[in-house]
Structures are given as structure tokens and as C-alpha cells.
């Protein structure tokens, strides 16, 4: 009994402390907070957005929350005005019904890496988009296929079977990857196409980037894809991918930056594709599966003033948080374009 009484007292004290602490926190945040903004969407951009939450609170006094439900979920949430901003790796035009009253603003820049697991082989083997499309269509089944061997002269590739790994959930990363394959392979474009999820002709699916990386990690002979940030964390081998200038390019920041030189003609709706840039000395070192990811907001928003402050901050100061998370800071031209887009929100 005495022991019980002591326990009860401890619990009461802890409870009182917790209540007091929560009051203190609420009071403190109420003092500073000029408002709160809710966002949802892409899990690809989530590490960057999460890194923004604390500085946005201290710089702007806005408390921001972000729910990484995936690009499609983000677009449907902003379309139905359930959130203040949605984030998507795929442009709005991909979704139907799409958000016709939204403004689309590119706010981060990164890429998709092609991963592999081949025991005995070194990192940074070479691959081309055409061969990758054939692998994902199940037409190239072995590592020592002449097409793959031809790209990797001097490397003795084994006869290991290739296991194709793709996302089993729908995802903006899949959009980027299939967008690239559609642009380099007419067969892929007509038979499979580009979307956040597609009817995969071959392979096994993994749930989210972690699932894909997990299967690639466990499966000798596997080839998969994930966003560059994730592939860096997962310590998996990545391919150098052939660009149209004829160079094999590593998915690193400077090469994503090289791809973003193709930023001069953003489409009217705010979408900006830099996948597979044209053959041009300017893009000699461009990583061909680089991509912008977007924030989508309603033109008429109840929180317009805070929303404008937040996005202005994100495309300027916020970019400094990018490189550590393998996001390339936006080029000046895109920032200028973004500011014009932000002005449409009221």
C-alpha cells in the first residue's frame, strides 16, 4: 500500500509538471506566433520542409506544419482547400481533376538516382536511358547483357539476373523516373507512359523509398530508383547516367545544378521540366533525371499574407538549407519567376 501511494503521488506530480509545461509552451508560442500554416504533400521534399519549420517560426513567427502524405495527396488536399499549401513533385497538369484555382511555384530542386546492388562490382557503373527502359520493360534480364556490357567496357559483368525494383505506392519519384524513361524510349512512352504510378511491365514493388532501398539492399542483382537525398542516406551504389551531351553523370549537386541551366523558359502554368536536357555544351555535365518540385497554393487564400511570406522565405533564405539535404538552391531566374507567381496569391 505505501508503495502504491508513492506511485500515485509521483504520477500526480509528473502530470502537474506536464500540464504546467504545456501551458508555458502554448503561452510562449502564442506570444510569438503570427499565425500558423498547414501543408501536405510530397515526401521527396519533406526533409527540406521539415528543416524549415524551426527557422520559419523564429524568422517569420509563423508556425508551420507539414504532413508528407505524398504528391497526389498534397494536390488533392490543396484542391479541396484542406491545407494552406500542397507540395507535389509532379506538375499540377498530371492530376485530374486538377486544381484550376491554384498557383504552381517550383520551390526545390533535386534529382532521382538509379540504384543497384551487384556483389563484386564497383560503385558508379554506367547506364543509358534506353538500356534502363529496356531493363524496366523486362527485355534485358541479365547483367552481362551485351547492351549493358557495351556501356561498361573493361568491367567484367556477371551473368546475375537483374531484379527490377520499383515503387509499389504512387509517388512523385516514380513520376520523375517514368518521365525520363518516356523521353528516352518511344516504346516506354507508348506502352507504359508517365505517371505517379504506372502498370509496371516487370519487377517487384517496394513501399516508399525505404522499401525500394530495402529490397535493392537485400537482393544481389537488383536495380531500383529513389530520390538522390535518400540514395545518399541509404549508402547504395548509384549509376552514372548518360545525358544527351554524351557524358555519364553522377547524381551530385553540381550536376543537378548544371541541368537547371535549362530554366529560362518556365511554362505559363509554372511547371518547369529539366529532365533529359538537350544536347548542348551548356548541359555537358547535366544529370538527366533532375527535377523541380512544386508548392501549390490557392490564388484566394484566407492566409494569403502569411503564405506569401512563407514561400518568399522558402525560395530565398530557405534554399540555404538545401545542399546538406542534397537539394540544389534554385537558380536566380527561377527565384525571380517564383516571386511573380507568389504575387498572384491574394
Amino acid at each position: 500500500m505505501p508503495r502504491n501511494g508513492k506511485l500515485v503521488r509521483i504520477i500526480l506530480v509528473l502530470g502537474a509538471v506536464a500540464v504546467a509545461a504545456s501551458f508555458a509552451v502554448t503561452a510562449a508560442s502564442a506570444k510569438r506566433s503570427a499565425g500558423s500554416l498547414k501543408g501536405a504533400g510530397s515526401s521527396f521534399v519533406a526533409p527540406l520542409v521539415n528543416a524549415w519549420i524551426a527557422p520559419v517560426n523564429s524568422d517569420l513567427g509563423i508556425s508551420m506544419s507539414y504532413n508528407a502524405v505524398g504528391s497526389g495527396g498534397g494536390v488533392s488536399a490543396i484542391t479541396n482547400k484542406e491545407v494552406d499549401f500542397g507540395a507535389s513533385d509532379a506538375p499540377l497538369s498530371v492530376f485530374s481533376p486538377t486544381c484550376s484555382t491554384c498557383v504552381q511555384i517550383p520551390w526545390a530542386l533535386s534529382g532521382t538516382a538509379v540504384l543497384y546492388n551487384l556483389p563484386g562490382a564497383k560503385n558508379l557503373l554506367k547506364i543509358s536511358g534506353a538500356v534502363l527502359a529496356k531493363i524496366y520493360m523486362g527485355q534485358i534480364k541479365k547483367w552481362n547483357d551485351p547492351a549493358l556490357q557495351k556501356l561498361n567496357k573493361g568491367v567484367n559483368l556477371p551473368s546475375t539476373a537483374i531484379t527490377v525494383v520499383h515503387r509499389s505506392d504512387s509517388s512523385g519519384t516514380t513520376f520523375n523516373f517514368t518521365d525520363f524513361l518516356s523521353r528516352v524510349s518511344p516504346a516506354w512512352k507508348s506502352k507504359v507512359g508517365t505517371n505517379t504510378s504506372v502498370a509496371w511491365p516487370a519487377g517487384v514493388g517496394g513501399n516508399k523509398s525505404a522499401g525500394v532501398a530495402g529490397i535493392v539492399h537485400q537482393t544481389p542483382g537488383a536495380i531500383g530508383y529513389a530520390d538522390v537525398a535518400y540514395s545518399t542516406i541509404a549508402h547504395l551504389n548509384v549509376f552514372k547516367v548518360l545525358n544527351r551531351a554524351g557524358n555519364y553523370i553522377i547524381p551530385r549537386l553540381k550536376n543537378i545544378k548544371a541541368a537547371s541551366a535549362l530554366d529560362t523558359h518556365p511554362a505559363k502554368d509554372g511547371s518547369l521540366s529539366i529532365v533529359n536536357p538537350p544536347k548542348n555544351a551548356k548541359y555537358a555535365n547535366a544529370y538527366p533525371i533532375s527535377t523541380y518540385t512544386y508548392v501549390d497554393v490557392q490564388k484566394n487564400s484566407a492566409n494569403a499574407a502569411n503564405l506569401k511570406k512563407l514561400i518568399n522565405w522558402a525560395v530565398t533564405k530557405g534554399q540555404a538549407f538545401g545542399p546538406k539535404l542534397i537539394f540544389q538552391p534554385l537558380p536566380a531566374a527561377v527565384v525571380a519567376f517564383d516571386k511573380k507567381q507568389i504575387a498572384k496569391v491574394r
Binding site: 498530371v94 504506372v198 537485400q218 542483382g221
Partner: protein
Amino acid sequence: MSTLDTTTDVARRPLSGRRAHLGDLLLQGAAGLAALGAVVLVGLIAYKIVQGAKLSLSTFGLGFITHVGWDPVHLSFGAGSFLFGTAITSIGALILATPLSIGIALFLTELAPGGIRGPVTALVETLAAIPSVVIGLWGILVLGPVLRDHVEPFLHSALGFIPLFGPPNSAGTGIFTAILILTIMILPIISSISRELFLSVPGELKEGALGLGTTRWEMVRGVVIPYTRGGVAAAVILGLGRALGEAIAVAQVIGAFTGISWNLFNPGNTLASMIALNYQGASSGLELSSLIYLALILLVFSIIVNIVAQLIVRRVAKRQGLAQ
């Protein structure tokens, strides 16, 4: 028999005093409201699901149920391969889990020495408390590679003449992995209910059988199993319900292949995992509606399973009543 009669007698006795009457009314009202709430909730869910599936229902009609394929780019959807995946994984898991869990329950009630009953019971029940996402992750990282490297090649070489045991899958994710994961998840449900049932068998009956000179096995077969058959059947159906609806762990290990493959080692997909994987990211209204159509099929499927279960339990109970 006599104890039962006294309880009904007490319940039937008219309540005296206003306080008791008020309490009675309150209880009746609250309990009735709770029951009504459950019914209304199921009704609303069904209504919402039919509403959401309307677009897909009017586009594809009933052909959706058997059509094999899921192509968000060309907007062609069908439930065929997921129905197949749901059926094969659930049935497979039941075939493995039923004898195993009954064995566990028998061991714990009839065979295990007193000292280890408690800990083993607790451990088996802990299995039910592991979050499905953790079991799924374990499936990818631990179980999958073991199956791929050891179990699948062995089964293929020993039983390869049966189409179910085709060439092993290189990734270790597939229908077979999903079946084993589901087995682990439904095992504690069936075994803990069966254990309770076996404990409910009157000691006199068991002792009587043993006294007549039966062996332990004959006693279990002749007394324990017949006495509890209806309840065990219900426990198995409960396990089936769990297997049908499990989404996350299956989604992690089944490999998301749209199509029908009789080789258990190939990837597949189920209704529940398809919905879980794609619901948040559906890129078109028609795809979203088709996913809800899948949910409708799953709902109808579960209702049918439940009705069949009720029928089985009732029949077994009836037969048991006749036998006694």
C-alpha cells in the same frame, strides 16, 4: 444447468424502487444508443463507399471485378488480380496457421508443464501486439532473404512439379512471404481463442475419458476437439477476417505485381494492400474511384465471409447439441 437457471431468474426479477428503475432506463438507453451507433456507422461507411465508387462503377460496371490490370496512365482498372491475391494469401495463411495455432493451444492447455505455460502464453500473445509495419519490415529485411536463399530453392526442388512452387524469386518479396507474414499475424488470434476454449472443457469430461483408459491424444480427439469445434471454427474465421483486411505488412512484402501468377514465389498484390499503397497518391478521379470500388469489393467479401462463418458456427453448434 442449475447455475444457468438461477442467473436468468435474477435477471427476470422485476426491479423495485425508482432509483433502480432510472438506472435501468439509463442503461437501456446508453446501450441501445451504442448499438444503434454501430449500425448507423456501418451504414454510413457502406453509403460513402458506394458513393465514392460510383464513377468507377458506371465506367467499368461489373466487368471491373474480373478484369486483370491496373494502368493509371491509360485509365484502365480492374480488381481481378487483387481478388486473386487476397484469396490466395488468406487461404494460404489459414492453411498454415490453423493447425499451428490449435497445436499451440493444445500444448498450452494439455501438455505443457505448469511452469512454462504462463511465459509461452504471454509470448504468443505478444505476437499480436507487434505493429504490422514492424512485422512487414522484418519480412523485407530478415524473412525475405532467408526464404529466397534457403526455403524457396528447397521447396522448388522438392515440390517443383506443383505449379505453386515454381522457380524462386530473386528479391524474396512475394505471395509466399506475404502468406508467412499473415500466418504470424493471425496465429495469436486463433491460438489464444482456442486456448480459452480448450480451458473451458469441463475437467470431469477429460478425466472421465482418461479414466476409461484413453491416451492423451484420444482424449483430445474424442473430447476436447468435438466439445470446442464450433468455437474453434469461429476463431479460424476471425483469423481469416484479419488476413483479408491486413494491408500494411502485406503491402511491404508482397511486391506489388498486377497480374495472376500461380507461382507462390512471384510477387502479387491484395485488395487491402493495393488500397493502402495508392489511395493517397491516386492521380485521377477515376483511379481514386476505382480504389474505392476495390474497397467495396473487400467489404462485400468480408460480409460474405462473416455470414458463412455464422452459418458454420451455427451448424456445428447444432450438431454438437444433437450429439450431447
